[in-house]
């Protein structure tokens, strides 16, 4: 929240759309603005009524460069919009930089996402340092139809106005805490010497020279990837990483998703009945990639690009002690690290036995 906990003293607030961007139809703008206010009315006692004339609490306009408030915009890109904290006159007013391209989709800047953020300011929220929150300063596209207000933002706005009476989605997404002792992870892969540890819609980037890990939204790196993934592995010989979600998988060369992807995992030779891959790890020595699903695993020959004969095999037959399922796996210096719930098992490929059992979050230097 802002210094002095600036907030509206009345809960029935008014807004007025003073002008429109040429990028979208009036109806699209009206819809995006209305939906953006609903993000906040669903979790507070606040109500928003639209005025078509006169002065409203929250005056909404599109402008460029110097637009009358001594806080000029900066042309295309950079600053997208701003809003003023609750208060009289300019208080609550929200301005969009019309040198940007606003849309209802994922191209340009999604007006609903930008407006929902700016109305957070207009209601009294300052920026959040939580990269998963709506009030994080940097724009990231989220599918409006699947948007759920993150818990960090709910905590902030309810500290000002209290809870609402009709929250249709009380389960608000939380940003994973890296040192949560119960942390489990979705997938791990190396990428050009870095390690990427995936959890929900995030991944932690771990660079050997960095003193701490960096939490990043998957969609900030790869907008086309889904918000959550099942498995990932690196095939360094081709400078590629493969990302799996459901029956689909993508090949990535750095930031770039290769054309013709996503493909279906059945193209690798898996049976039609296979719905997901839980974990994948590539062994540079043998040139084999192991795919784990349920209580079984497969060996895949990267050179021949086919599943090896005699698979699937039971995980517990060949990797005794790591449990019946695998959430994620990666290999380093002859060891394979298997993740199962909040534990990870350091498995020696040479002596075929578990060397250590660690907490899953120890991969994040916790």
């Amino acid at each position: 929240v802002f210094p002095r906990n600036l907030k509206w003293s009345h809960y029935n607030l008014t807004y007025r759309i003073e002008n429109y961007t040429p990028d979208m139809t009036h109806a699209e703008v009206d819809r995006a603005i209305k939906k953006a206010f609903r993000v906040w009315s669903e979790v507070t006692p606040l109500n928003f009524t639209r005025l078509r004339s006169g002065t409203a609490d929250i005056m909404i306009s599109f402008g460029t460069r110097e637009h009358g408030d001594f806080y000029p915009f900066d042309g295309p890109e950079g600053l997208l919009a701003h809003a003023f904290p609750p208060g009289k006159r300019i208080g609550g007013d929200t301005h969009f930089d019309d040198d940007e391209t606003f849309t209802s989709g994922s191209n340009g800047y999604n007006l609903f996402i930008v407006a929902a953020h700016e109305f957070g300011h207009a209601l009294g929220l300052d920026h959040s340092r939580d990269p998963g929150s709506l009030m994080y300063p940097v724009y990231s596209y989220l599918e409006p139809s699947k948007f759920l207000l993150p818990d960090d933002d709910v905590q902030g706005i309810q500290s000002l106005y209290g809870p609402g009476y009709r929250d249709p989605n009380p389960k608000h997404p939380r940003t994973p805490e890296k040192c949560d002792p119960e942390l489990s992870i979705d997938a791990v892969t190396e990428l050009r010497g870095e390690k990427l540890i995936f959890k929900d819609r995030f991944f932690w980037r771990q660079h050997p020279q960095m003193t701490d890990v960096e939490l990043v939204l998957i969609k900030n790196f790869w907008p086309e990837l889904p918000n959550k993934i099942d498995a990932a592995y690196e095939y360094p010989e081709k400078d590629l990483i493969f990302i799996f979600r459901g029956r689909k998988f993508w090949a990535l060369n750095g930031y770039t998703i290769l054309p013709d992807y996503p493909k279906r995992i059945q193209e690798l030779g898996f049976p039609k009945s296979l719905k997901t891959i839980d974990a994948a790890v590539s062994n540079r020595v043998t040139g084999k990639t192991l795919f784990f699903t349920g209580d079984k695993y497969w060996s895949f020959d990267e050179e021949k690009q086919m599943v090896d004969k005699g698979y699937p095999r039971l995980i517990m037959d060949d990797f005794p002690g790591i449990g019946e399922k695998v959430d994620a796996a990666y290999q380093r210096n002859g060891y394979i690290y298997f993740f199962n719930g909040s534990l990870q098992f350091e498995y020696s490929a040479w002596s075929n036995k578990i060397m250590r059992v660690l907490r899953a979050n120890s991969i994040l230097w916790c």
Partner: protein
């Protein structure tokens, strides 16, 4: 603005202008704090840079390194991260 000495980091004049505008627009009010810093460090922009790096959980080097510049180029909200509209 302090820039790392690595040879391979080509910070252009345009980058420097972007960074200066970014810090002055979004790290408002830290001039007061920087007042103290200025006596000690003599560079309010470096103080703002450190604040920005701390806000975004970057390594607080006080120097315009690649990671910091990369983040400054990302589209964002124009409301200050530190300090507020007066």
């Amino acid at each position: 603005l302090p820039v790392p000495h690595e040879e391979d980091l080509h910070v252009t004049d345009k980058d420097l202008r972007l960074a200066e505008s970014y810090l002055r627009t979004l790290y408002v009010g830290s001039d007061q704090h920087a007042g103290i810093m200025t006596k000690r460090r003599g560079n309010p922009l470096a103080a703002k840079l450190r604040e920005m790096q701390a806000f975004f959980d970057l390594e607080v080097t006080g120097k315009l390194d690649e990671e910091t510049l990369e983040l400054m180029k990302q589209p964002r909200c124009g409301v200050p991260d530190v300090g507020e509209y007066n």
